[in-house]
């Protein structure tokens, strides 16, 4: 493992946790770093909504097939199990789990994943979601990498709370709801941009994120401005 990148990642994540940070972009950074540091092919942060359904907050890749694999785990899969039990679920070889999760294993295999880890996101004794890591090749995970992944899952959880300002009384439930709504907003903006520029959802997300970064804006604010057509967003076609 690249110790320097690891140290840099934690510094960068901490730096990002300032008052007005962008939750979705932050979580995306976290999933990207999971992929580059932790021997993962793809990563996703899933948060449970009020009904206990897992919803993707960020993924290292916004391709539809990957997002579907995350969502599929509302029926079966390591993420669902991790969320329900609150303990890590680590599968070295997915082909051995075909009886346990027939649909999940089939789809994961089709996309090209051989191993998976799901790590709980816990807050005040409550599991609020899970960090999901996929790897193409089957085989054991480095225990040190799993520890770091759990640390990153904890950082992701903290970020959900950090987003709120201290000036008013809020409760966990409501904070998660607000976080989920910002993801809905991003999806709406992705759709509008994808249609307008005739591009796919991943490209639309990349364009939105690129614009937000280039202009030092929060992704959610850019998404809202795009949907409301409330300001010219040069390069995003409005």
């Amino acid at each position: 493992m690249d110790q320097q990148l690891l140290a840099k990642t934690f510094v960068e994540l901490a730096d990002n946790l300032v008052a007005d940070f962008d939750l979705i972009d932050f979580l995306r950074l976290l999933t990207d770093r999971c992929v580059s540091m932790l021997d993962a092919s793809a990563a996703g942060v899933l948060l449970a909504d009020r009904d206990g359904e897992l919803r993707v907050m960020a993924a290292s890749d916004e391709q539809v097939r990957l997002l579907e694999l995350f969502q599929l785990q509302n029926d079966e899969g390591p993420c669902l199990e991790c969320f329900r039990t609150g303990v890590p679920v680590i599968i070295h070889d997915l082909t051995r789990e075909v009886d346990r999760w027939p649909r999940f294993v089939t789809v994961a295999h089709r996309i090209g994943f051989g191993a998976v880890q799901a790590l709980p996101m816990r807050l005040r004794d409550e599991t609020v979601g899970a960090l999901n890591l996929f790897r193409a090749a089957p085989g054991p995970f480095d225990p040190a990498a799993t520890l770091i992944a759990q640390a990153l899952a904890d950082v992701a959880t903290i970020s959900l709370l950090q987003q709120r300002t201290a000036q008013r009384s809020t409760v966990l439930n409501e904070q998660l709801q607000t976080a989920l709504n910002s993801r809905v907003l991003i999806e709406q903006a992705k759709g509008k941009l994808a249609e307008r520029q005739d591009i796919d959802m991943e490209q639309a997300f990349t364009a939105l994120r690129g614009y937000a970064r280039a202009h030092n804006r929060r992704l959610a604010d850019v998404a809202r401005a795009l949907i409301d057509s409330s300001e010219p967003l040069t390069g995003l076609g409005s």
Partner: protein, 206 residues
Amino acid sequence: MSKAAVSHPLCSTDDISEQLEELQLTLGEGPCVDAFVRGSAVLTPDLLATELQDHWAVFADTALEAGARAVFSLPLQKGAISPGVLDLYANIPTVLDTEELADALAFADLATLLLLDTRIDETGAPTGGPTPDRGFEDLGAYRAEIDQASGMLTDQLGVGIEEAFVRLRAYAYAQGRRLADVAADVVARRLRFSPDAEPDQAEEET
């Protein structure tokens, strides 16, 4: 409160809640206004708290006079769609526990869909098809495609996000199809909406 008239009260259950709405409309301040602007819930367990007195100087005093002691404002929203705010009050200091807040949030979600559903008829969807409980199947599984498709329709139809979502739902009802399936067709570009056609006559390509 609804967006169209900044804070036009749609419905109040009693005199006190009606006064609270009128008050915020008149003053342009209060929890409901804040909830709408911030897009997140504003929970005020006790209006006598000092910092609140500073924050909503006039509202806090007048609301107390009207008989309210705790006020909870929950935004009705789905991404950029925000048709209004749900205001609840209590006449004694009240901290909502986890379960009560979950109930309130669930109620706000339901109110959002019902409020948007009232606009389906305005878009010209057939009234025969939809059943009275039409909104509730959608409360189940979340599908990102529904939000993506709504975003796509804003461009295809040249309308705002709220109307795009309403038109998508109206089409699904009219066709007797699941909203998630219709949305998936839109995202996969198998189904397009055209501004000239009625929602139920959208041109379909296979």
